[in-house]
């Protein structure tokens, strides 16, 4: 029993819960980071990623969530009317008031006998929704719940974030362990009041605390959540075939992995930031889908998200025999990454509505 104030307990439901289906979505357009540097820095300076995914002019978090949800349903082979919750975590909900989740639920056929709500916790809104869904299914209140992390991320023109703020995400269909492609061994969350990054109401772009976003924010929370979960499960880095961390750029997850004792080959499959950017609430989850696309039965996966403000959700998953049988039922994450149309800064500015003088 833990002492008061240090109730560090593993999140593990009575009934085994797993991923019954999963689906990624990444829009096709790519803006190379060097194109941002060309416009804003005279082509000089370091580049935090190679390029980022940009949504088309007719795409938003609703349409992208529907794409990912359909992929998750295709893999899960689940009747959508059985889904008891549709939860979408994002920083880019198209409406301030009116849920993204009801539109998604309607489009995939999950309405009307369902929960539906939008989640907000910066870049970990999606994994928070996954954790809630584990509780929903794990308690027996539902057999299936759909959690989505999806973003069309914002970065102020010229800001460091503009190089990385990408678009994409994933839908995770949670279901009973016996029907799952991967089973949750446990999860754990760590949260504090740490104001490293925020966007106030009615503001178009987020603000951030520069270097404060690193050590006391991203690294501290990932480290605490990841190490606590491994400790409670009696696992170490060597027990995991794969690990994926929230990826605001290329270096942060590499450094977080190293500090937790992981080797580069354990994170390379899920490290997508270099080629799609930081998809905010979609970031860790879309990395997970890339891992599920290639993991073998028995492979153990560590996922640790990070949301500014700040908190991390850590999950431990083990792939089952069903994974290789069902993953081919929808496009892979790498298929979406390969579907690539490069655009220049002007096209990007038009697609993202950054021309404000008109």
């Amino acid at each position: 029993m833990n002492a008061p104030g240090v109730d560090r307990r593993l999140l593990k439901p009575a009934r085994e819960v797993g991923i019954a289906g999963y689906g990624a979505y990444i829009p096709r357009f790519r803006l190379p980071a060097k194109e941002v540097a060309r416009v804003w820095k005279g082509g000089e300076g370091g580049l935090p990623v190679k390029e980022k995914a940009v949504p088309g002019i007719d795409e938003d978090v609703i349409t992208m969530s529907i794409e990912a949800a359909r992929n998750a349903l295709a893999r899960g082979q689940v009747d959508p009317s059985m889904i008891r919750a549709v939860w979408v975590g994002s920083e880019s909900h198209p409406y301030a008031v009116k849920p993204t989740s009801t539109v998604v639920a309607e489009a995939i056929g999950a309405t009307p006998h369902t929960q539906a709500a939008d989640w907000e916790f910066a870049c970990k809104a999606g994994t928070e929704a996954v954790q809630a869904a584990i509780g929903f299914v794990g308690s027996g209140m539902a057999d299936y719940a759909l959690s989505i992390g999806m973003d069309t991320a914002q970065g102020r023109p010229g800001d460091a974030l503009e190089y990385t703020a990408g678009a994409g995400g994933a839908a995770i269909l949670l279901g009973p362990g016996e029907e799952s492609l991967a089973i949750f061994e446990g999860s754990y969350s760590f949260a504090t009041d740490t104001p490293d990054f925020w966007r106030r109401a009615d503001e178009k772009y987020p603000e951030h605390g520069e270097r404060f976003t690193g050590e006391p924010a991203y690294f501290k929370h990932i480290q605490e959540a990841g190490s606590a979960l491994m400790e409670m499960l009696g696992r170490g880095p060597q027990d995991f075939r794969y690990a994926v961390f929230h990826q605001p750029n290329t270096k942060f997850p590499q450094r977080a992995a190293k500090s937790l004792g992981f080797k580069p080959e354990q994170i390379e499959t899920g490290l997508l930031a270099p080629v799609i950017g930081n998809t905010y609430a979609g970031s860790a989850l879309v990395g997970l889908t890339a891992i599920l696309d290639e993991a073998a039965p028995g492979d153990r996966i560590l996922l640790v998200s990070y949301g500014s403000g700040a908190g991390s959700d850590a999950f431990c998953l083990v792939a089952t025999e069903r994974l290789p049988q069902q993953r081919g039922l929808a496009p892979s994450t790498r298929d979406y990454i390969a579907r690539r149309t490069e655009i220049d800064y002007a096209t990007y500015a038009r697609y993202r509505g950054k021309l404000t003088l008109s």
Partner: protein, 389 residues
């Protein structure tokens, strides 16, 4: 003969991004360390050296705040502010109080907490050190002010673009063994040449990193017992001086008259010549000021300061070691606290407690800090007392 002022104890925190520590917590750590180092002696007066708390932390009245937080109930306490020279000027005030016979013991604590603000807010706060009406209003920052001076220096003296690299190389090399330093990694001339520009021609290695830190020093008159077993160190002379605040008002921006005056007055007060100085902790907030300070204090002829950084003179084993713990460039620049760090470091040298930074047979050391490109300069000279400890 005047009664000497002794170093009773010193303490400091690393200069770093102390995300988890507030202004008062940083100061407390250094103050407690200094009191412990002094064998538990408590000060009768407290001078706080700080230049940025009113803007960055919205906190003035640091004397009362820190005296109370440190449990020094009722003592006399106030803030001394002179931009980057605050630390040296505070030590000067402490020395004056002791010389006047008003108190037996004084604590000086220099503290800056800068990482609660980022970006332009920080630049704007630092610009308040310059002439607000005529410089800051036009967007002059400390970096651009240093860039104007460095450009002029290289041009006037026909010096190569990497003329000042030696100061940065020396600082980084000396910081490797300093556990309180921000950057403990030696750099090469190639690293310097490859560094990105901060404000042309000031590159990343010409500019000291501003970070959080606190350093404290406890001074006392001879009536106060010293901790036995370590060489005794006197404060031999202190002086501070001022010059035109705005660069455009200075008749010659490559001359630092306040630095020259304060060095001259401190040497005079100490009753020694500059040749007696075994080491010099100068203020390398930007590398060009290191060269200018050497010239102002008379260690180099005008236009020759940079040569000392190229021929080994300023190395730990050289004729005049500088930046022995890493200086502002590698130990880290702590704004108004920097002057206190410098004197703490000189004291450690003369007490033979400098570890990997130890300068052999150091008997007399000088520290000098500059405020806003030299508009204020404060110089402190310390001496190891003769005879066995």
């Amino acid at each position: 003969m005047r009664e000497p002022v002794f170093i009773l104890g010193v303490g400091m925190t690393p200069v770093a991004e102390h995300w988890g520590l507030s202004l008062r917590e940083l100061a407390l750590q250094a103050m407690r360390a200094a009191m412990a180092d002094a064998g538990g002696v408590q000060p009768q007066a407290l001078y706080v050296a700080n230049a940025l708390a009113p803007i960055l932390s919205g906190q003035t009245h640091l004397g009362a705040l820190l005296a109370d937080f440190a449990g020094l109930d009722g003592i006399e306490a106030s803030t001394v502010e002179a931009a980057g020279a605050s630390g040296g000027v505070a030590i000067r005030q402490a020395w004056l109080a002791l010389e006047a016979g008003a108190v037996e013991t004084v604590m000086v604590v220099g503290v800056e907490k800068v990482t609660d603000r980022v970006g332009t807010g920080l630049d704007a706060a630092l610009s308040a050190w310059s002439d607000a009406d005529y410089e800051a209003v036009h967007g002059l920052t400390t970096a651009s002010q240093a860039a104007l001076v460095m450009r002029r220096y290289l041009h006037e003296h026909g010096a190569p673009s990497d003329a000042l690299a030696g100061f940065s190389l020396t600082a980084h090399r000396n910081a490797v063994g300093n556990a309180n330093a921000m950057f403990r990694k030696a750099i090469t001339l190639e690293d310097y040449a490859r560094a990105g520009m901060v404000s042309d021609p000031v590159n990343l290695y010409d500019a000291a990193p501003l970070a959080d830190g606190a350093a404290a020093i406890l001074l006392g008159r001879s009536s106060v017992a010293r901790v036995p077993g370590r060489p005794e160190v006197h404060l031999l002379g202190t002086a501070s001086a001022t010059a035109q605040l705005a660069v455009h008002d200075q008749p010659d921006p490559l001359n630092l008259p306040a630095a020259a005056l304060s060095a001259e007055r401190a040497l005079q007060a100490a009753g020694i010549g500059r040749d007696a100085i075994d080491l010099f902790e100068l203020h390398d907030s930007y590398s060009v000021y290191a060269a200018l300070a050497l010239e102002a204090a008379g260690f180099a002829a005008r236009g020759q300061g940079w040569q000392m950084a190229r021929n080994g003179t300023i190395a730990l084993e050289g004729k005049l070691p500088l930046l022995t713990f890493g200086g502002s460039k590698a130990r880290g620049e702590a704004g108004g606290a920097t002057g206190v760090y410098q004197v703490v470091e000189v004291a450690l040298q003369l007490q033979e407690r400098a570890g990997a930074s130890q300068v052999k047979e150091a008997r007399i050391g000088m520290a000098q800090c500059l405020g806003a490109g030299g508009a204020t300069a404060a110089t402190t000279i310390l001496r190891q007392a003769e005879g066995p400890p």
